[in-house]
Symmetry: C2
Subunit: 341 residues, 2 copies
DNA sequence: GTGAAAGCGCTAACAG
DNA sequence: CTGTTAGCGCTTTCAC
């Protein structure tokens, strides 16, 4: 803490007014005449006074800060989320307390405790696991304002998120319309407890009366570029005749694209590739990626509206509501009807 | 702030001990017998007690939080910095207060004030402009622990950073050794007040007795992929015979690479491309990027060591020291000796 | 071993 | 209009 910062008391002594008057004057109370206020403001400036927010928080019982917990800010979508949240929160007068869970539930719990101890007014969280959220439910049950950035319809916790199932459904349906039949998927849902994209994929297939072929789904090790490369290699080696693949992140798609380009597989003619999240590096890839967009602005604005709304509730919190934002497809170069064989 | 959280007083009343005893017991004082401590801990658990850090901060005069101000977390290096800082700070028991200046000096100032008001124990900052840092110098002069993540040798402010001049020098020298003579540079130093990379470029040229040709430097609009594409287009249209280009970020390099691939310019044969920062998307580009690495771990560790060191100083701060980390080259596919003409 | 009292810097009654 | 008093939840000093 800044050593020896000026306090109200210091400027009170300097001006001869009481601490109370100084406080009032500095906060612009109409009860203080201009003359006095000016005198006090001047003294405050000279002392380089800055109100001590921690003292203020203690009495006001609000810190004007909101905790943001992400799994891993390295994921481009989460980077953008962090950026957008911070920006919007700061515009609304809130400070962002930032933490990363590193996909470790224990760390996630610890960070929640830390925010609670510091009396963050609310928490925005992207949980490690979409299913194990008892601790979050528990928080909310104690009237602590939390909103999740992933949606679990009946979790009992507020959430704002992209409708990933709808996104996957749209993307796969689009590929089917283009004439693809053997559509692969890089699916890593097992670990993260989020089957939404897989569900969308399955629904689209069944709606088109295409039988699900398990050999078309390959699980990437991680949601990164290298794993996308490896997954594509696995898919090609399986030789199951896939003409298209849908990837749960642009990073994976980029890795898949890289494999294809380097192995003489034409994209999109021989392999159509659909990404997810519509990131900068996907848009500007050597062959620009078709992708399911992620309306980060919409999600963060809604989520922030909701936490702040909950913060301002007196008494018990209202029932949780989860809001899903419907994504759009962004069709670029990496997808097209399959080549005739 | 969490409505109606349990306080020491509540658990004092519940157990019949005084607030003081409870406080001591919970903090593990040896003066409290085990029997008492157990009793108190139990009551605390039942009440779901969590110490109020804001009250604690007020009396202890430290918040165990450090402010991190970045220009724009969307830049992959800064993303990684944010991640690394948060992780390491949390391991050391500090919380990260996060803010983005959006390259706006006024916002930067505002965020610094905000952190100071909240009594962050120290600040880590990546300033918008490397030259205009009077406000930061001023902070330090008042004994506020700040360390910058960019280096200005005689700014009077502590700093830890990569030696960008050395990085550029090494990269350009490497290209020269490979036989390149007409080496272009995408340089945006004018706006951001950081000429280090350009200096390294110029030094390498002059050391090899290659005359500087201004038509070989093209200023990208922004440090992003699209601007790299555009810059490459400009460079090619100028038709000045460049056989290699050095880019101040991997994003720009990726854009340049994209232009080349899409216009039949072979990389690296017809155009060698050197990036900066060694990012994931550069490493796994269709043609993997040679790049100047950015040892984020080293920089953040040193920077954090330094702020925490300054925080623990009693009385006046010691003279500022700036530490530069020397980068290494990572040679991949995007660079090679020029094709014979 | 445990408790009472004071104080961190601020705001919120309530007087005058 | 301005000052006095109390109190936010905690730690610390000093008694008992």
């Amino acid at each position: 803490m800044a050593k020896s910062a000026a306090r109200l008391k210091d400027i009170a002594e300097k001006t001869g007014f009481s601490v109370n008057t100084v406080s009032l004057a500095l906060r612009g109370s109409s009860r203080i005449p201009d003359q006095t206020r000016r005198q006090i403001s001047e003294a405050a400036d000279q002392l380089n006074y800055l109100p001590n927010q921690v003292a203020k928080s203690l009495v006001l019982k609000e810190t004007k800060s909101i905790g943001l917990i992400l799994t891993d800010i390295t994921n481009p979508v989460l980077t953008a989320v962090a950026q957008a949240v911070e920006l919007e929160l700061s515009e609304r007068g809130y400070l962002t307390l930032f933490a990363t869970s590193n996909n470790d539930p224990a760390l996630e719990r610890k960070m929640i405790e830390s925010f609670r101890a510091r009396r963050a007014d609310g928490i925005l969280i992207f949980p490690c696991n979409h299913r194990e959220i008892d601790h979050i439910r528990h928080l909310r049950a104690r009237n602590y304002p939390v909103v999740m950035l992933v949606g679990d319809p009946d979790s009992g916790v507020d959430a704002v998120c992209m409708d990933e199932k709808a996104g996957a459904f749209k993307a796969v349906s689009h590929l089917i319309e283009q004439g693809h039949q053997k559509i692969a998927m890089f699916d890593g849902s097992a670990e993260r407890g989020n089957r939404d994209k897989l569900d969308g994929y399955l629904t689209a297939l069944s709606q088109a009366n295409i039988a699900f072929d398990p050999s078309l789904v390959v699980p990437p090790a991680l949601p990164d570029v290298r794993s996308g490369y490896d997954a594509m290699e696995t898919l090609i080696r399986r030789d199951v005749g896939a003409s298209a693949v849908i990837c749960p992140t642009d990073s994976l798609a980029l890795g898949g694209l890289r494999y294809c380009v380097r192995h003489g597989i034409d994209v999109p003619e021989d392999m159509a590739i659909f990404g997810f999240d519509d990131t900068e590096f996907g848009e500007h890839a050597v062959i620009s990626l078709s992708s399911v967009n992620y309306d980060i602005g919409a999600v963060t604005t809604l989520a922030i509206d909701r936490v702040i709304g909950l913060i301002n509730v007196e008494g018990d919190l209202p029932p949780a509501v989860v809001k899903q934002v419907e994504p759009d497809l962004v069709i670029r170069e990496s997808t097209a009807p399959p080549a005739r064989r």
